[in-house]
Amino acid sequence: MNNQYKKGVLELCVLSLLFQRDCYGYDVSELLSRHIEIADGTVYPILRKLKSDGMVTTYLSEESGGPPRKYYSLTEQGRDDFLTQREEWLAFAGTVEKILKGEHIND
């Protein structure tokens, strides 16, 4: 699969996971790399870029019996942007599916 294509979609997937609940970076990485053919290390740069874009923020949580670990969570802006982009993607993917199956598309 084309690399550029995957990268944009991966950001959307990361946002979606964080939309459902705050996660450790490791959890996001594991969940995605289990289902999609990507290198395990690909998710961390994405998380970092989302953070520097203001979509995502981090906080430390005190774990009993261990060092504090970093949680990722969506910002207000991240939520809004994610919801918009999810709609666009779903509409796009729906159309693509119809085209690939040779079905008729309603304009």
Binding site: S33, A39, D40, G41, T42, Y44, D53, Q85
Partner: protein
């Protein structure tokens, strides 16, 4: 590759790419090793799964240490941009004035159309439509309403166009003065191309065509009724 070797390599490549916060990034990958090993993977397997350190490092954005320009350059830039600002502001005012003008056209069309329809029934002081056969009045009114509708759409689109132009300019202004440190807006290049509304475009073209046809029909009708091509002379419109 062993864990420590991997993290070392990663650190070197990140430094080579001038990435910010290298320690924080390494710590994250260190934790990744930690958790994976707890799940029973070997260091070798984890390294394989992560991908090459050089490739991973390439995916991080290189931070630009805030370039401090010399004060002289910054002042010169500010003055220069200031002059362009004046130019841009006056252009923006002119463009918005055009938007207002188009809106005025829309308003005038609807008022004229309404007046043409109402004319024989209401003797209102501010309606001064020249007298003409009602059929001609109706045709002209229809033409006015169509033109009005086209003008409304034009107003909306010219307003959006001007507004986008202005926000592009503001963004450019900030980037020049900030030395390009604005956070990039999230972009999904696959999905961000503006889509032309083809149906609306076809409707607009049709609208203009209908307007022309209606005006021509009105002219023909009025000429026939007046018995002359210059029906406005026959009826003393401009006496």
């Amino acid at each position: 590759m062993t864990r420590s070797l991997y993290l070392d390599e990663l650190g070197k490549h990140l430094a080579a790419n001038n990435v910010d916060d290298i320690e924080e990034i390494i710590a994250e990958y260190d934790e990744h090793f930690e958790r994976k090993q707890a799940d029973g993977f070997s260091e070798e397997e984890i390294s394989e799964g992560l991908g090459l350190p050089s490739e991973i490092a390439a995916q991080f954005e290189s931070g630009e240490k805030a370039r401090q320009r010399p004060a002289a350059v910054r002042t010169l830039l500010a003055v220069g941009v200031g002059f362009v600002d004046i130019l841009a502001a006056s252009s923006a005012i002119a463009l918005y004035a055009c938007v207002v003008a188009v809106a005025a056209v829309a308003f005038a069309c609807f008022v004229a159309g309404a007046a043409l329809i109402v004319q024989p029934f209401a003797n209102v002081w501010f309606i001064s439509i020249p007298s003409m056969p009602y059929g001609g009045g109706l045709l002209l009114a229809a033409a006015m309403f169509v033109l009005g509708a086209v003008s409304v759409v034009s107003t909306v689109y010219s307003f959006r166009f001007t507004r986008n132009l202005c926000s592009t300019y503001v963004r450019w202004h900030k980037i020049v003065l900030d030395g390009g440190r604005l956070p990039p807006r999230p972009v999904f290049p696959l999905f961000d191309r503006p889509r032309t509304n083809r149906r609306l475009r076809a409707l607009m073209v049709a609208g203009i065509a209908v307007f022309i046809v209606l005006m021509a029909a009105a002219y023909v009708y009025l000429s026939i009724r007046a018995g002359s091509i210059e029906f406005w002379h026959v009826w003393n419109w401009f006496a």
